[in-house]
Amino acid sequence: MTVVGGALLGTLSLATPLLLAALGETVVQRSGVVNVGLEGMMLTGAFAAFVGTVLSVHLPYHLLGADPNPYFGLVVAVLAGMLIALVFALFVVRLAANQVVVGVVVNLLALGLTGTLLRTLPRTGGGFLQTQALPQIFFNQTILTPLAFIAVPCVWWWLFRTRRGLELRACGEQPVAAEAAGIPVMRRRTAAILFGGAMAGLAGAFLSVGDVPTFQEGMSAGRGFIALAIVTSGRWNPWGCLIAALVFGFTDRLQIQGQAIGLHIPHDLLLALPYIATLLILAFGSGWSVSPAALGRPYRRT
């Protein structure tokens, strides 16, 4: 494979978890909820995928065979993402608590819970935690990469071309008016948050069983926050998210290959590049003007 092709595929694969999480978060934010806990949800997904894969051997009757099955890990990751999203929704939607506060708490809980539970897992030889990775189905990519890219038009279609999508966006723009029109705002927001949790779970699974099949404490390493930035710089639109995620994947790739192709930029500055780029995009794109009007505001039925 050519150097260019390799770089391209590398970009796609680095963009995958960001894109998955950002698409979920786009739907969540369109419903009027900002989920700062995305980072924690991804971490939970990563951990759940890992544990699910390890434990798939112990299913009754060897349902999935005698080898660890990473696809079972994916299912567990989605469920775990939805479970933690349910807790988030309980506080944010039912109790109308501050969304940033609960998001921060979700991050803390995920870090503490996964790190603590990690100690209870059996270790294989050498003290390393390892299991089976997802099989690469084409061009060295796992199923998650095509899934993420196919999800872009699907989410876009659902949000902007279906009645349900319109109703969801109404919840994020004018929840009072939406409620008056007979849309159950709280239920729709909960559903959106659950979808966001499922996508974050998949994104996390990519980190733990997608490439190097292992789990480390805090392995999401800020990717959830980057996904948040992608949603904003992608202007709450799946296509925008796609472009932003690719830009991030590319800069990530650049800092890996930077030295190899003899770029004379300090390594640390290359690492900072995606974050600076986000700030610039946010500052000098039109920013707020297109954000859902009720974003971040708790809604309570009166």
């Binding site: 506080f91 921060v104 790190g115 603590t116 800020g222 309570r300 009166t302």
Partner: protein, 373 residues
Amino acid sequence: MNTLPLPTTDVTPPSLPMRTLRFLLQIAGYTLGFLLLLGLTFLALRIPAAEALRSLWTGAFGDAQNGHLAALSNTLIETTPLVLTGLGVVVAWRAGLFSIGGEGQLLMGALAATALAKVGGHLPAPLLTVLMVLVATLSGAVWGALAGWLRVRRNVQEVISTIMLNYVAKFVVSWLVLGVLQEHTHHNPQSESLPNTVLFARLLPRQWSDNMQTSLHGGVFLALLAVLVIAVALYRTPMGFGLRVMGQNAEAARAAHFPVDALRMRAMAISGGLCGLAGVIELLGSSTGSLPANDFSSGWGYTAVPVALLGGLHPGGTLLSALFFGALTAGCRNLSQFQGVPTVLIYLIQGMAVLAVVGGRASRARRTGSETE
């Protein structure tokens, strides 16, 4: 925030004894829940719970055998940065700005102080110390004000921008410390060590604790002073009043001719300044005063958010909750030394604590129909 009705039920504030009783009951409830959670976690990790709890306590407060000073000094050392970064969160969040940028502001403070020490190494020691503190506070404030400017002029959500600025600060620190600021032998990934005269003095004499040098330093007084200053600034000055009004309802504040944009800039600058101060205090309070390229902060900027939330976004409450988390950190360190308990356990406890407080507050607000936060 916008369309919610005023409280419909008649809410007369309960009498002082009732409030005290309710407060004590709450504390008792949280303590019980906290111990229960810890016990369950220890059970899950197959660790003898009673022994682990005792080890936690010894780490934070000491025991009769080894004395209390060393442990208490550890607790206070862990508390100091949390007080300052927690206050930073209080100022910003009270003003309705959800800044999570303490980590970056703290790093920029420590970085600026290190740069000053490199350039101004010839200055007399006390002057250099004072200048370092000032420069660090200032550069933390600038880093915070940057997020404020992005919010005011460019309409960028501060939640996102502060997180991005944290990462930028982290990489700028490792770039400069591995570059122009590296110590002269270029062997270690850290900046030059500072002479002892520049560093903060150790407060407790050796002979008080079996000739073991406890590392409690003067920074703890700066943190206490900051609590007082911020409390006065928030509750006894026009600016503090403006900040709190804005935090309650920015549109109303604007309608009442409060200079909302200027207040936002100021809130972010003060918040950043406090975190920058925390950074230089950690630098000058360390044993060598050299800034490592990575992992200088053990998450003080991030922990600040639960600290401030548990403290009810109030300076005094923040002091108490920083003490709680400081003791917890010191205790957990002792625990992990002896029994292989993960240090991340502390995040779980922090999360649960804040969730209990937030949940309690939110469900009360739901009953009475009033606003949360």
